[in-house]
Amino acid sequence: MSIRKKGYSHWEGQLKESAFVAWFPLTRLGIKLAFQKRFFKLFFFSAFLPALIFLAGIYVSERMEDFRFMIQGQPSFLQITPNYFKAYFTNSFFLFLLVLMMIFVGSGLIADDLKFKALQLYFARPLRKVDYLLGKMATLGFFLLLLSLIPGWIFVLFKLVFAGNFAFLRSYPWLPLAVVAYSLILTLFFAIYTLTLSALSSNSRHVALMIFGIYLASDIIFGIFYQNFHHPYLALLSLKLNLQQVGAALFGEKLFYPVPWGWSLLLLIMLMGLGLAILNRRIRSVEVVK
C-alpha cells in the first residue's frame, strides 16, 4: 500500500519543447469569454441571417420555375455568378456586422489584459509576443471566418448540390479561391484593426467607441469629400470602400469606383503594418514608466 504524502508533489510529465500552436489556449479562452457576454449569443446567431438569405437565394435561382409567381421577369440578381458573391461579401451591412462583431469580441481582448495586468502572467511562460498576438488574432479570426469563409464555401457547395452538376465550378473554377483570399484579407484587416485599438487603451468601452468611431468617420469623411470633388480616388479614404474595392476586384466584378484596386490593397496592407508596429510597441510584459 502506498500513501499519498501530504505537501508539495511534483509533476511527472514532460513539457513540450516548442509548440507550434503555443497560442491556441489563448484562442480558446477568447472564444469562451466572448460567448459569456450578455446578448452575444443572440447577436451571434442573428449575424448569420444575411448568409441564410443568400443561401435561400441560391435555392430560388435553381427552382426559378416554382417561384415564377412571386418574381416578375428574370431578376438579374438571382443569376448565380461571381456578382452574387460580391453582393454578399461587399455589402455595407455585412461589413457593419463584422464591425459590431469586433466590438463585441475584440474590444476587451488586449484592453482587459492591460487593465488586469494579465500580460505578466502570460509572458512569464515560454510564450513569445508573436504567439500572444496570434492567439488573440485567431480568436477574432474564428468569428470573422465563420461569417465570411464558411458561408462563401457553403454557397458554392449548395449551388453544386442544388444544380446537381459541376457546371458552376467549371465556369468559375477560381471562385472558391477568391472566397478564401477575400475572407483572409477581411479577417486579417479587421483583426489587426481591432487589436491595435484594443491595445491603445485599458478601458474596453473606449476601445469600442474607437472601433466604431474610426470606421464610421472614415466613411463619412469620404462622403463629404466625394460630394464636392467627385474624384474616385477619394474612395481610398474610406475603410469600408477599400475593402469593398478589393472584394469587387477579387470576384472579378465591376469596381465601385474607378480606382485601381491595387491602391486599396496597398493601403490596407500599410494600415496593417502600422497596426502591427503599434502592437509591438504597446504589448510589453510589464508597464515601464519612465
Binding site: 487603451s201 468601452r205 467607441l209 466604431f212 468617420a217 463619412i220 469623411i221 460630394q227 470633388f229
Partner: protein, 273 residues
C-alpha cells in the same frame, strides 16, 4: 463636542461645491490622456475644411460655395457624428469612470454637496466639449468663408450653429450622464441610441420623430437642400423654434435632475482590488 461649534459655520453650500468640482474636472479634462485624445478628434473637421479651401485656391471654384459646404457638410459632421461620440465618451464617464477607477472615495469624503458632484462634473464636461466643438466649428467657418469675412450677415449663421451645437452637447451630455449612472454598458447602449434610434426615427413621418433629440436640434436650423446626401436624408417636420429650445432645455433638466437624484440615492460599491 468642541468641533461641532465650528462645524455650524461651515455649511456645505451647493454652489461653492459645484464651483470646486467644476474647476477640478475642467482641469482634469484638459490634462488626462484619454480625454485629450477625444478632444483632439475635433481637429478632423478643421482638416476637412482646410482641404476644401486648399483645393478651392489651387483649382478654382468648386461645385459648392464655402458657406454651403460649411452648413451642409461640416455642420452635419458635427451634429451627426462628432458631438455624439464626444458626449458619449464624456457623459458616460461622469460617474462610471470614478466607480471603475475606484476614485469615488476621494470625492465623496469631501465636504461637497452630493448632487453638486454630478452637476459640477457635468458642467465641466459640457463646457470642455462645447468649447472645443465651437472652437473647431468657428475655425472651419473662417477657413471656408475666407473671402466673405466682410459680410456681417454670415456671422449670424456661425452664432446660430454654435448655439445649436452647444444645446446639442448639453442635452446629449445629460442623457449619457444618466445612462452612465444606470447602466454598466452605457457605451453600447449609447451607440445604439445615437447611431440607431436617432437616425432611423428621422425617416418616420408625423409625431414619431419628436422622440429623437436630433429632431429638435434640426428644427433650429433652416431646412436644408437634400441634394444627394443619402446618409443625411430625412423628412423633417420642424417644431417651432421656442418650443424646440424649451424641449431641449427640458431634456437637460430632466436627465440631469434624474441623474442627481439617482446618484444621491444610490450607493456605489467599490470592491477592493
Amino acid at each position: 463636542m468642541s468641533s461641532l461649534a465650528h462645524l455650524e459655520k461651515k455649511k456645505t453650500l451647493f454652489f461653492p461645491s459645484v464651483r470646486d468640482i467644476f474647476k477640478f474636472y475642467f482641469f482634469l479634462g484638459l490634462n488626462s490622456r484619454r480625454s485629450r485624445l477625444f478632444l483632439l478628434s475635433s481637429i478632423v473637421p478643421i482638416v476637412i475644411a482646410a482641404i476644401f479651401k486648399g483645393s478651392q485656391i489651387l483649382y478654382g471654384q468648386p461645385r459648392f460655395s464655402g458657406l454651403f459646404i460649411y452648413s451642409n457638410m461640416i455642420m452635419m459632421f458635427f451634429l451627426h457624428f462628432l458631438i455624439l461620440i464626444m458626449t458619449l465618451f464624456f457623459g458616460s464617464s461622469v460617474c462610471r469612470e470614478e466607480v471603475d477607477g475606484s476614485t469615488l472615495p476621494y470625492l465623496v469624503t469631501r465636504p461637497l454637496h452630493k448632487m453638486a458632484f454630478i452637476v459640477g462634473k457635468y458642467a465641466a464636461s459640457t463646457l470642455l466639449v462645447g468649447l472645443t466643438v465651437i472652437f473647431s466649428l468657428a475655425i472651419c467657418f473662417l477657413i471656408l468663408n475666407l473671402t466673405q469675412l466682410g459680410e456681417g450677415g454670415i456671422y449670424k449663421v456661425l452664432a446660430r450653429d454654435a448655439g445649436v451645437l452647444f444645446l446639442g452637447v448639453m442635452s446629449y451630455m445629460a442623457l449619457f450622464t444618466f445612462l452612465g449612472i444606470i447602466l454598466k454598458k452605457a457605451i453600447f447602449f449609447g451607440l445604439l441610441f445615437s447611431f440607431g434610434w436617432e437616425n432611423i426615427i428621422q425617416y418616420f413621418p408625423g409625431q414619431t420623430q419628436r422622440f429623437a433629440v436630433v429632431h429638435y436640434l434640426k428644427s433650429l436650423l433652416p431646412a436644408m437642400t437634400q441634394e444627394g446626401f443619402p446618409f443625411l436624408l430625412f423628412r423633417l417636420e420642424p417644431t417651432p423654434l421656442a418650443q424646440s429650445i424649451l424641449t431641449l432645455l427640458g431634456i437637460v433638466i430632466f436627465f440631469l435632475g434624474l441623474s442627481c437624484a439617482l446618484y444621491a440615492w444610490k450607493e456605489f460599491i467599490i470592491d477592493s482590488k
